[in-house]
Amino acid sequence: MQPQMKPAAAPVPPERAPRKLAHPRMRIGPAIAVYVWQYPLRLAHWGLVLSIGLLAFTGYYIHNPFIVGQTKTTFLMGTFRFAHEAFAMCFIAFFLIRIYLFFAGDRWVKLSAMAPVSRARWKEMIEVAKFYAFIRPRPLSKVGHNPLAAASYLGIYALIFVEIVTGLVMFNWLAQNPVLTVLVGWIPGYIDIQNIRLIHFCLMFVFIAFGIVHVHMCLIVSSAEKRGLLDSIFTGYKVVPVDELEEDDRAAIEAARDHRVRA
């Protein structure tokens, strides 16, 4: 028996012991920085954030012009409408980047990695919800999105699609663009233009409410799991304990590293 046992690890010299510096709830062990969010994804994310904010502000002015021009030279509504339409075009571009990444992005942002398609993912969604409901002590840590977050993002992307389509219907109502008429011109025949406006307006509040909850969840999870979740949307990197990496995660990281070494 005795010879089969591995030799015990050498005791850490007291002067080099890092125990005092480590956070009491943090696991000590090897961890690596994983490049989870490629820069096109972060570009799309921040582009969507910025354009939603500006679109909400200019869009609310268009709904309810809260500043009434008093001088003869103002061009308020014209400016707000121009800004709204210009940012809307940027918004569509960022959305299309994100849609492209569903198919061409890395393994954590692909549609197949986010859609709640397997029974295991539904079980994990319940585990995530349990953490938010204070039933489960630790968050369910994933290298990419947790399954509940991924499902909610897919829902938001679907609503963004509805927002873009309703916006284009209203844009085309005045612009009468032949391409847009083919794409969306048939819609007002089924949903009246006023109800299109109502949907477009109500979804704005859904996006604002989502933004509030989204930031809150990120703060809560980030502070609980201490893996740089909040940083990752700026830097792209998350810190993941090596022993938690699943086999295909590990393979993907090694492949990426080899690729970079070759390049």
Partner: protein, 367 residues
């Protein structure tokens, strides 16, 4: 009344209408139709040589407002229109005949002028309970319409009610009212939507028919494009105030007295298509927005249901009652999100420290 078959030129001369007046009338009609002036000789010849086509005006579930509007038409004025331009054989509101005599006239037109006469329909057609909610001389409106319209050269539906049911078909539509197009599928109808129709447009359609022996180009709702092809907002005389951001915020305020944009008062000009701002009403006297009232989109499909509330920008949110606006609902949602995350965040500070993480082997099992 002149006999059908008299040439229009003779009829007009007999009434003391000069050639100059005819040119003016035809020019105005070409302008309304957005046709170039090279069609003027053609239109003149067509109108002058027209052998008084017979016209039948049917009224069903209506308020006679479209008839009233037509009687205020001066292009051509009522005398010309009724007596000279067309031979109006049947029109319940203005004809002298009554009862059996009137019904016989209608039957005679359908029989003798088959395939040659024009029909104007005013008012919606009920379909509930076999159409008994509107009967004339004991016959249901839908039966009369089917017989008269299917034998006509062309059918013109005037007003919102004949277009798509209008007020009568607004929720809850107890009589199952529909427009002519829906009541009589397969019959070619041109819709002169609007509450009421603009008689200048209807007269222009009649002149187009006389000139080209065909009806003008129409949009997806069978409304003539020359009248319904453009957004009111794009033609509005107050549009400059809209772009500048100068809005009426209250009835009778300074902006209202200065003629600023009525957008904030629920004007549906940006939604509605019509040529109101160009053709205007009552001999080009005025139109709703010039008179200081927002557009209610009366030429739009199902406008009573879709464009109301007329003094709000957006419809009420379904399922929340009429007092609940989309803004109130949306701010409530955002407020709930804020309260929720604040509560959850406060509760999270009380969350007990997580126990030390399990050894690596059980991590994958738990997750």
């Amino acid at each position: 009344m002149l006999a059908p078959g008299t040439e229009m030129k003779d009829a007009l001369e007999r009434r003391g209408i000069t050639r100059r007046q005819l040119v003016k009338f035809c020019s105005a009609m070409l302008g309304t139709l957005a046709l170039p002036d090279r069609f003027l000789p053609q239109a003149m010849a067509a109108v002058a040589k027209a052998r008084k086509p017979v016209l039948v005006w049917l009224e069903f579930q209506d308020c006679a407002g479209c008839s009233e509007s037509m009687l205020r038409s001066s292009h051509p004025n009522v005398g010309e229109a009724v007596l000279d331009l067309l031979s109006w054989e049947y029109h319940e509101t203005i004809m002298a005949g009554a009862g059996q005599a009137a019904t016989r006239t209608l039957d005679r037109v359908v029989k003798e002028e088959k395939g040659k006469y024009l029909v104007v329909v005013e008012g919606s057609i009920p379909t509930a309970e076999g159409g008994i909610h509107c009967t004339i001389g004991g016959r249901a409106a839908i039966d009369i319409a089917r017989e008269v319209c299917s034998n006509a050269a062309a059918t013109i539906a005037v007003g919102a009610c004949a277009f798509d049911g209008g007020l009568v078909a607004a929720k809850p539509n107890p009589t199952g009212a529909v427009g002519v197009h829906e009541a009589l599928p397969g019959i070619k109808v041109i819709n002169m939507a609007g509450c009421p129709h603009n008689p200048a447009n209807t007269a222009a359609v009649l002149v187009h028919y006389l000139t080209f022996n065909d009806l003008p180009a129409v949009d997806q709702y069978s409304r003539p494009l020359f009248a319904y092809g453009r957004i009111i907002h794009d033609q509005c005389e107050r549009r400059a105030h809209f772009d500048a951001g100068r809005f009426v915020t209250e009835w009778g305020d300074e902006g209202h007295r200065k003629g600023w944009c009525l957008y904030k008062m629920g004007c549906k000009g940006p939604e509605a298509t019509f040529n109101c701002p160009i053709v205007q009403w009552n001999d080009h006297t005025s139109w709703p927005i010039r008179a200081g009232h927002g557009c209610i989109g009366c030429a739009s499909p199902r406008f009573w249901d879709h464009m109301s509330p007329f003094y709000e920008r957006l419809p009420s949110v379904p399922g929340f009652g009429v007092e609940m606006t989309a803004t109130k609902l949306g701010l409530g949602l955002v407020g709930a999100a804020l309260v929720g995350v604040t509560g959850h965040g406060l509760a999270s500070t009380l969350r007990p420290a997580a126990p030390p993480a399990p050894p690596p082997d059980s991590v994958r099992k738990e997750n």
